[in-house]
């Protein structure tokens, strides 16, 4: 990854404009999944718009566990991009998801909270819910490699 890539310009523009949605739209996987970032009452939320191709168990029906994991990981990344001075996409080191309830065939929301930010590593906790925020369907804890301005670029071995 170069220091002058278009993504960095997009990240800088998103931060200046206070609007992360254009950045999210630049990620093909987010478009495929229907994942977006929305600000509701001053809070940055990840939103997964329900679509039939997100189903993992057609009998119930229930969202695919990996889909819920993707929303949690994406929301943690949104929060990091939002709150930190990261100018590169944070790289996920570990993601641990606890599944609490099955995800029904409706929209899902998630909120990330930065629990620790070091120079190189940040930790984010994320909750995901559907209709009732007090009844989360899944919670996650994730660690990321973050590289801020002036930091050496992360090792790119693949």
């Amino acid at each position: 990854m170069t220091a002058q890539g278009p993504l960095i310009a997009l990240i800088a523009a998103a931060r200046r404009a206070g609007d992360i949605s254009r950045l999210v739209e630049a990620v093909p996987y987010a478009r495929f999944m229907g994942i977006s970032a929305v600000v509701v009452e001053g809070e940055l939320l990840g939103r997964l718009q329900f679509a039939g191709h997100l189903i993992g168990n057609p009998m119930l029906p229930a969202l695919h566990g990996g889909v819920i994991g993707a929303l949690l990981e994406s929301t943690a990344i949104f929060q990091l991009m939002w709150e930190t001075e990261a100018i590169l996409l944070p790289r996920t080191i570990t993601l641990t998801v606890d599944y609490l309830r099955s995800g029904r065939a409706v929209d899902t929301f998630a909120r990330g909270v930065l629990t620790r930010q070091g120079r190189r590593v940040a930790c984010v906790r994320v909750d995901a819910w559907q209709d009732d925020r007090s009844r989360p369907i899944a919670v996650a804890s994730a660690h990321f490699l973050i590289e801020s301005a002036g930091m050496p670029a992360p090792e790119q071995d693949g």
């Binding site: 093909p28 191709h53 993992g56 168990n57 695919h64 993707a70 099955s102």
Partner: protein, 155 residues
């Protein structure tokens, strides 16, 4: 006896193969089942531009690897069960060891190494060609015999 076991495994594998192909999100990812053995499942996640997480490098999003890992782990559990049961993921941890290399496909191999009365434990690895050079590793536990009474959680 051995013939009965291999016959049972063949039937189980055929059923799980049919089930995997029915899962909408697995189809959306174009996930392919490469091999099904006793307590083991090997899947392929084909590289696809729609799964890119970093538009600058073309590297796959971690979410696609997570979904493929979840699917492979769940199928490994099905392959380990004495009879078909409804299962639910309790937890799944993914360690991302190195970025996937575009535009290469990813292979995911999962092994259900322990089944108890209520819970199954699974490990998985994602790699390109060489299992010794993995992209991600996964560890999950699954609740067994969850019925529709628990699952929908409707108020």
């Amino acid at each position: 006896m051995a013939d009965d076991d291999s016959e049972r495994l063949r039937e189980l594998s055929a059923m799980n193969l049919r089930f995997e192909r029915m899962v909408p999100h697995n189809r959306a990812l174009n996930l392919e089942v490469l091999a099904l053995e006793h307590a083991r499942a090997t899947f392929r996640l084909p590289y696809d531009v729609k799964l890119i997480g970093n538009p600058e490098t073309g590297v796959l999003h971690g979410g696609a690897i997570t979904a493929a890992m979840d699917a492979a782990c769940g199928t490994a559990v099905f392959q380990a069960l004495p009879r078909p049961m409804v299962i639910a993921t309790l937890d799944l941890r993914i360690d991302y060891l190195k970025p996937a290399t575009p535009p290469r496909d990813v292979t995911i191999r999962a092994h259900c190494y322990k089944v108890t009365r209520s819970v199954a434990f699974v490990r998985g690895l994602a790699f390109h060609d060489d299992e010794a050079d993995p992209i991600a590793s996964g560890t999950g536990s699954f609740m067994l015999g969850t019925s529709s009474r628990r699952a929908p959680e409707r108020e």
